[in-house]
Symmetry: D2
Subunit: 339 residues, 4 copies
């Protein structure tokens, strides 16, 4: 059993904790919170030992009826591996702590590549993570781009990628962030950071990305065009998607043409937290014009990296399995059913 | 076993179907759809026999990989009771069908009181539903109002109720309805229909309601003031809420101050479809000023009537249990845990 | 001529500047900005001398093609009166500066009553502002409440006011503030600060307010109930509204039932910045039930205090006119046409 | 003087009416409405004679205090040219009427190309409209695309255009249309109709467009990439934009990075209805990578076609001026000042 600690039990951390718990070869030994809020109640409900960064705040937790197991420092000493799911920019500050305890650590895409010196996607570079001390799981958008680009490249080669990312303004439960009624260029300059971030996993892909933020909470949407190195048919592309364990095909017959309807469908499937772990590629959009592939894909910002974290844990722990097998174990443990 | 058919497997129907399935004394014998869309896939996934109103459309379902069990007419012949969850205004047109087959039927609050001649809320008038052929479960907002008003009235008496309902513009998966950036008075005239609708369950309550629609998908919010007939303390009101099986108290220590955070909390509790079946009363808002009670409550439009439908089925089937026991059975079957 | 400086040329400041410019007895001698952004271009376009708080930033303005007239300190020395329209909480820090220069100053409702020791609304207490050094114009919501409550009180007496304020989440151009899809109780506790704030102008009115924030940018909406001391008819209330220079009646025949449609109507009237300076009371909502008045009113958060600032300037400058006359001059100068 | 009638005094019609009124060589002889709503009040306020399609509804207008000049049929008999600004799909039904009266007519982009057999953009094909009886002004998005593509093509040649249009869900005053919280693929299939529509004006341009709808009311946003036939520098592209009478450059120094901030800036410029008639191209986004141009442009859906209608009128009336001169006259009459 790999003993995993979650440093930062928030939007990503709470999902990784539940996903890890379901794996046959992993165990959650603790999670951390800074405040005794709603998520702390959930940690208690789930039976995850709760650790806190600032032990002087212990009384506030106790007053709220939430037992505290100890400090984050103590949690880390019990762990084989820490998943750092603290907010972007905070994770880097924890690096020294992980080095001190010589514990393995995974950071999220909110940190720069340099935090770990290695950026991970299970479908692209699982082998390179094996036995590493430090790994960074790339962001939700980069994860979604890497999966489809790599899958297409393996079969047909990729000459150039152009992607426009229409990003959700805030996660569904976030009430202070906007915009309420605007399209915000983020950044206004071109390219956005997503292209270079894809190159941290797939260095050889020529890619230009443009990004904006819109007033929605339910998933990002990618408008993606890929110039192929060889001729391909629409059906061949659909076959690649159907065969891929982390690419989901939103069937035309479902009538789903939006992120909201897709979220409802995943909710109706009884997935935990209505999570879409795979890319949501709209079948009706998949088009090949000349040697260029066009498609729309929805990326569930809270979910797609969760399964990547699980695979990264397995690879870093030195498992002898290959990536495809790890992905299969992860997916099966979560009860993955195709869209 | 009570054999239940769901006529209209949509937002409410699919939830009632799952809730009925979990009850020890009920069984789903069929659900109906008009088109082979995403929800039809879910019905198939759940193993609910799927019936269609217009049997000439059978091939479209078959082509989409969805087997059809028969016509709605056939479904009704197998049922002890039909839950009509068709869109508002459509249900009334089915009345003749239910009469023809002398099957018991429940309508939703989108229909007028006259559709059944009896409007139901399990906490208020369970006994009156016993052995009835026809019942109408009042709308989500009316359900939420009836629960709290009746509970307060039983203990302290109610002299006057004023309620402002700030309603969600559309359910989360609905993409065509707005508004996008506006507050819409619906209706602009005062009172709104909600006050009279409360009176269909609680005829003696003096109540004036005002209603508007805002650009959100996550729950309605009620700003409620109740003039009491007797002195009461805040603590006594909180005790009433805590003791009530369908009034939930959003604890101040959770830090939750919005509908979105409340939805996330319910999602984290692993409730099916993140459903809040009870009123979400914000502890921090419960205030008594003189002889007047003020509070905010969130009402999950897709969920609170679901449990009421289940209780209505039980009462109409002639069960000898009382309302409190039925509510307990319903709640337990769903795995209800207090907020 | 009253020489007016605007400290803080933002959402409110830029509107007050233009309104002051149109008055026959006032003149803008300068406006201040902290950064050379879009609004600084507008100040230049309008010909308002631009002053900056931190003179070391002068080069940044010059580089952007925007001339700088001097420091805020210098601006204040040229002014008879400063309208402080800096962000809430910043204004109080400028008090010392205004005292040092013994200049008259007006703050906005984002500051507490104590900043000036006097809270102003032209329709309620114009006389009390005469010759004062310091005045606070109450916030948009409080202004809207004071106008209608005072007008009703003068004629019929007021026993109790209950108001639910459904507030816009952010101004139309603000892109970082939310919520995107939530109703936020702000505050969750009852009463909100608006009731006490009304009492800073109308101390004797018994009022309880509840407030929430919703994802819209176009105006606040008030659901208002007023218990009257005497009998009144709906027509008498409508007459009060029609006769009042700062209460606007949204006629039923316009078909307008929302904030968005009202904003469009004001835009179509060619008002500067589509500003609604008066309360937007929906004719169709005005109802009298027993001795209680119910109505909905839209409050344009960016606009209604603008005209109040102009009247406050006139009163503080020691004009011998009465409030009604000042209001008339202000309105006429802006080309006020009834809705 | 060209006598112009506006058939359909709504979002576009009311703007064209005001723009026409300001032209030295045109006159509004009447506008039409179907209901006596807010816009009918505005027509009265502006002094435009109001005609109605269904004369039997005259009394309803009179009751609302709005005088009726006659029937639409009568209006058309007085006109040299009709601008048909009825809702998309309605305009085609009026064609017979215009043929009967042998009046010139302009349709909007909501109609198909075939309605007139000629699709117009003043910067691209002014000459071809001269003396025509029927012309279609292309939609707001197509107008915005044609302007920039044609301008770049004239100088550098265009090999391929890829555009992703992120469209506003509804106009600001529209309260029934959504989505509230979703990205909607509209259409889900690729290409969207915008590419072919560009080809109705610029037949030789290879272009693929993808389109989606998001929950905002303030402008569309285009993410545009243009493969050039020749080398170009960023500065050369900026010079093209600055020199073009209908391409606006949103300067980097303004700090504007969104549609909402841009709308506020245009509002602050005191433009009627805060209208942005030109493309809003973000200076900070204009990038040349190899032989490919990337940029973001905001398109004000209510405004950019208004000026095109004016130019179309002038060309169709047989004016001897060339397009550049007409554009200049139109812009000057509106008081166009560069962003």
């Amino acid at each position: 059993m790999i003993n995993v600690a979650i440093n930062g039990y928030g939007t990503i951390g709470k999902r990784v904790a539940d996903a890890v718990s379901l794996q046959p070869d992993m165990k959650i030994i603790g999670v951390s919170k800074t405040r005794p809020n709603a998520e702390a109640y959930i940690a208690k409900e789930r039976g995850y030992p709760l650790y806190i960064a600032d032990i002087s705040k212990k009384q506030a937790f106790v007053d709220a009826g939430i037992p505290v197991a100890g400090s984050v420092d103590e949690m880390i000493q019990c762990a084989d591996l820490v998943v750092d799911a603290t907010p972007g920019g905070v994770g880097i500050k924890n690096r020294e702590l992980y080095e001190k305890h010589t514990v393995k650590a995974i950071w999220q895409g909110g940190e720069d590549h340099d935090v770990a010196g290695f950026s991970f996607n299970a479908s692209c570079n699982y082998e390179e993570a094996r036995n590493r001390q430090f790994t960074r799981v790339v962001s939700c958008n980069t994860t979604g781009l890497c999966r489809i680009i790599h899958a297409v490249e393996e079969r047909f080669g990729v000459k150039k990628v152009r992607a426009v990312m229409v990003r959700r303004g805030a996660d569904p439960h976030v009430i202070k962030k906007g915009p309420i009624d605007s399209v915000v260029l983020d950044p206004v300059s071109i390219p956005s950071h997503h292209g270079p971030d894809v190159n941290s996993v797939l260095p050889h892909i020529p890619i230009v990305t443009m990004a904006m933020i819109v007033p929605t909470t339910q998933m990002h949407m990618h408008a993606l065009t890929i110039e192929l190195a060889q001729d391909a048919t629409r059906e061949e592309i659909l076959d690649i998607i159907k065969a891929h364990p982390r690419l989901g095909l939103v069937k035309k017959t479902t009538g789903i043409v939006s992120t909201a309807e897709l979220k409802e469908f995943v909710m109706d499937m009884n997935r935990p937290r209505s999570d879409l772990w795979e890319n949501g590629i709209y079948e009706g959009s998949v088009s090949v014009v000349g040697r260029e592939l066009f498609l729309f894909q929805a990326i569930h910002q809270e979910a797609d990296v969760v399964v990547e974290n699980v695979d990264a844990i397995r690879a870093m722990a030195g498992d002898v399995l290959d990536g495809a097998t790890s992905i299969q174990i992860t997916n099966n443990a979560l009860g993955f059913v195709a869209l």
